[in-house]
Symmetry: C2
Subunit: 614 residues, 2 copies
């Protein structure tokens, strides 16, 4: 039975309004006719809805249902051998062969309560018609086999599947190097909105510890005036439920959330479950931390590295119940302030069991929540986090750059059963990751990575303004850290710079908004092209088809002949059709599967074509 | 965890002496060191054997065990986070970084009982060495996670994996058209042995009903002297536990079984659970059959076709318990006569639940039994029968004839997870199936289909003497039935005919016997060749490698260049090696991956090369 995750141990995922196509192998010994049906219901409902399943081929049956509400749905399949339908099927064959049906009518009469069928005084024709029109009796309860266990679907809001994220450090929102407030961020909302983003995500906004505070460029000791890393959470002013005074008040934050909502932008918060040594928890709840034999609190480590500015929680402490409740209440606190989207920092270093419990509880009360798992770790661990409940997941996209890497990885993300629970959210950059490609590829590299992210994945994000201003200097050669990283200082940003990519970003997000094909991932199809530097792929939703061609060579123009899979675009073999480049405005007339593509990185290294049938 | 079938619902299969390689994804949150082990035991043993699992890559661990005894083994995996090993791993890194280890030694001392480690008076070096040499303490019971459910392996005798079957009708064993006896069959044992077969399989040997007996070529009415179909089981002389008097006595049969064993040949019987109207069961146990409303017994049907000479058992009768016990006792009766291999006729028209119970019970008492499922039906049903217990399964081989069909089908049989439970037994012909290929392809077709069967599959069989005497006439054009089918009459066979394929068959079976590569299926590898009429594949077991090239064009010589996957043959990229044709005796020196192959169907349409490294 499909879809299911780990034999039903975890739910699959959908968003409101989507279809769940359920497929099952249903068969029995012998040649009798089977019937089967799909049963589904909203979790809290009592009665199951029933849909007859349709026979496809080779014992394969299918039916679907649509999930209309946030929350959880359940589904299962029932099948049975149907003796009456079997008998009627055979009766037709016997009659066509001109056989005597007298005994057969009596056999049928034993299977359905029908007076005409029973009545030997009636004509063969009358009795045959009675058989053909008789209502099929319900199956005997002991004949019905039901699939086990009952399977589940978590239904999320639309933004779980289709969202455009913009990450920024609120404290740099002024752009002039002085510490900004939520009001300064509010003033930037039009900038974010004009670029077309619908999620504005902040690193932690809480008081920052001073003990062992890191300086600029991650210097071991801060200098006077250094603002510290937002991930060193907690100080005298409070911890995970407080706001850094320099950013304003909780009321300011709530106002910002409201203003964002009016512009279609959800404010997303970073939940990083760790403490600075100054966090109130450290003194109020020493039982939530591990003690070292010398009486000090165990700090974070990656031996031999020591992060003495960070204390991790001990998820296995004997006091785990009060700890877990408190951590859950952190989410609940921010939900009360109007936040529904969270990015969770390093969830893989916390207990899987905690996440499964915590997310289940949170979503039971607030099924609209979206949680993005920020785990850049081994595949099994990233998948496990998605299974235990994270709505979206960061991916390896940043490190997939060649044609082969991109093709293989996105085939895995979109065409394997993991898509039932693992929803990718892809980022060309983050405050932690400035990939070599962006360091050395120049402006074409930024454009290419942006186009790939925005068109390969329905969920994507950028860390700005570093991205649109094409920040590309690493702290040192070979490093993926930004030079003068915003993690440790307030940045100056000249948002109006003429070379900013903001216009292109706005255009791309508009294309995403206008074209349903780009709002889902599962229709992704790669098309062969005879140039290893060119990548061509398409997505389609109903009559909306988008075809993207990208030049992965940031230095030289490249050209080639693409061999389109016309079927995936719903184009007939020799049909003439148009492709409209939604980035450049260019229009081309193509015919058949073989077509010429040429891309100059110094003009635009990508086409985003809308495929238009005549 | 792999291997497993349907989340552990069914066992996997192995033969005595084989290895079970168990693989598992084992991981936890965080960065702690894990340990895991494979536990396995013979079903009836109490204690588990333990093997540490080895880490491979990406949370993937593996270990194996060898199954030495017939019967069932069980296996599972245990894993745990190992705090002491984690601590020791980090201690090494800390020491290399020159850090102060005083507190670390105390942390370690809390994890292992070690006086030197605890002792602050000892030198760093002493305490470090104590840490390195300390025995790893066993995991805390609550820290251990165990896989569920316990998985099982059915261990069969070697012939379950590697066997060569010869099917013949005992009553034609004289070859002169007169009804033969088991003694005549005994006289043919040397003929069968010389050809190299180790299973001699008979259609049913029981008394044959006379009511509604079929005549020659399946004529509706028999004429005087017609011997009837052996599958119309049961007459006044007895049923499934009796021997047709014309064949001799039960004692004669037992002697034949013994003589076969002395020659390394197992006699296999056909178990067809159906009755002629004259079967003693019909009058003694009417409750085992379905009654029609007119008081007659329900005969077999495939509407509108009626098979009034055959009564099927009603597996769902209220008296199912006595019926199932009796049917099981049929197997037990023949096991008592020395039979250990059974071919089961049309198991898909009987209850899956019956088979699962019956085979489980039989193999519990007689784990040496081999049951071949004769189901030519939809894939899911054939697989289900293999899952519920059949040792071997007939396949679609007969209908897979082109290069593409053969490649795809044998990749499925040998390279997908179904190989854990579905063991193919492939037949170029059976008394029911004379494929068009053999009807029209002439002698080269017989040779090609024989070579394919004998080298693609470790289990194969032929229906003889029809095969070696290249019988190729169908009852009518388009039919797969033999003209003058042996199912309904005694045949004359001229076994010594000079054009018989018996010598070639003997050579092929000798090659199979001498080359371990051909005694297993899983190493199968197809090699690309630039001619669609040529098929090239190899198998390897340790240092034994066999490479087969077949010309699928039965009329014309074909040639081409093969692109060998040298790694699968354990040959270095530019190594010179020899290929010895074990059929023709020819020897060729090859070098590198690209080599020339030419095959003339009128000489020998196949090479069976032994690959010999210099």
């Amino acid at each position: 039975m499909r879809p299911q995750v780990d034999a039903g141990r975890y739910p699959i995922k959908r968003v409101v309004g989507e279809e769940v196509l359920v497929e099952a192998d249903v068969f029995a010994d012998g040649h009798d006719q089977l019937a089967c049906e799909l049963l589904w219901k909203y979790e809290s409902e009592k009665d199951w809805c029933r849909v007859p399943m349709e026979f496809r081929l080779n014992d394969h049956w299918a039916a679907s249902f649509t999930v209309e509400k946030l929350g959880r749905y359940q589904y299962k399949v029932r099948g049975w051998v149907d003796p009456f339908v079997t008998w009627r099927r055979d009766l037709v064959k016997r009659r066509e062969a001109g056989q005597d049906l007298a005994v057969d009518f009596l056999i049928g009469a034993a299977r359905v309560d029908n007076n005409i069928l029973k009545d030997e005084g009636r004509s063969v024709e009358e009795r045959y018609q009675a058989a053909m029109t008789a209502e099929v009796p319900p199956p005997a309860p002991q004949a019905v086999v039901e699939s086990e266990p009952v399977l589940e679907v978590v239904v999320d809001p639309l933004k779980a599947r289709f969202s455009s994220w913009y990450e920024m450090f609120p404290r740099s929102a002024r752009g002039d190097g002085r510490h900004a407030t939520f009001r300064d961020v509010a003033a930037l909302l039009p900038y974010v909105q004009e670029m077309g983003f619908d999620v504005l995500y902040f690193p932690p906004i809480h008081p920052i510890g001073t003990t062992a505070r890191k300086g600029k460029n991650n210097a071991v000791s801060a200098r006077p005036g250094d603002v510290g890393s937002p991930w060193a959470i907690g100080a005298a002013e409070g911890g995970h439920k407080a706001v850094l005074p320099g950013l304003g008040t909780l009321e300011d934050f709530r106002q910002l959330v409201d203003e964002g909502k009016r512009r279609g932008i959800d404010i997303a918060l970073d939940i990083a479950f760790q403490c600075s040594p100054d966090h109130p928890y450290v003194t109020e709840h020493p039982e939530w931390f591990r003690a070292r034999p010398d009486g000090t609190v165990q700090y974070a480590e990656n031996p031999p590295k020591k992060y003495q500015d960070i204390y991790p929680f001990d998820f296995e402490t004997p006091a785990w119940q009060s700890l877990w409740q408190e951590l859950k209440s952190v989410f609940e606190f921010w939900v009360e302030q109007g936040v529904t989207i969270f990015r969770v920092d390093n969830p893989h270093t916390k207990s899987f069991v905690f996440w499964e419990w915590c997310i289940r509880e949170l979503k039971q009360a607030h099924p609209e929540l979206i949680l993005l798992s920020e785990a850049f770790t081994r595949p099994r661990v990233m998948h496990k986090l998605a299974k235990v409940g994270f709505t979206q997941s960061y991916t390896y996209f940043t490190w997939r750059n060649t044609k082969e890497e991109l093709t293989e990885y996105f085939m895995e993300l979109t065409q394997t059963p993991s898509r039932e629970y693992f929803r990718p959210n892809v980022w060309p950059n983050t405050p932690d990751i400035l990939h070599q490609t962006l360091q050395h590829g120049g402006r074409p590299a930024f454009i290419v990575r942006l186009v790939l992210a925005a068109t390969l994945a329905a969920n994507y994000g950028i860390y700005g303004p570093a991205f649109e201003l094409t920040e590309h200097l690493p702290r040192e050669p070979g490093s993926e850290e930004y030079l003068d990283s915003e993690k440790y200082e307030i940045k100056r940003w000249e948002l109006g710079r003429p070379d900013s990519l903001r216009e292109l970003i706005a255009r791309l997000n508009r294309v995403r908004h206008d074209n349903p094909a780009l709002q889902r991932d599962w229709s992704l199809k790669f098309h062969p092209i005879d140039n290893p530097q060119l990548l061509v792929y398409s997505k389609r939703e109903q009559d909306n088809a988008i075809l993207v061609a990208v030049n992965l060579d940031f230095a030289q123009p490249q050209s080639g002949f693409v061999e389109l899979d016309l079927q995936s675009l719903d184009i007939a073999p020799h049909e003439t059709f148009e492709v409209h480049d939604l980035l450049s405005g260019g229009r081309y007339t193509w015919a058949g599967s073989r077509n010429y593509v040429e891309l100059n990185p110094h003009q635009l290294p990508a086409h985003v074509f809308k495929v238009v049938r005549r």
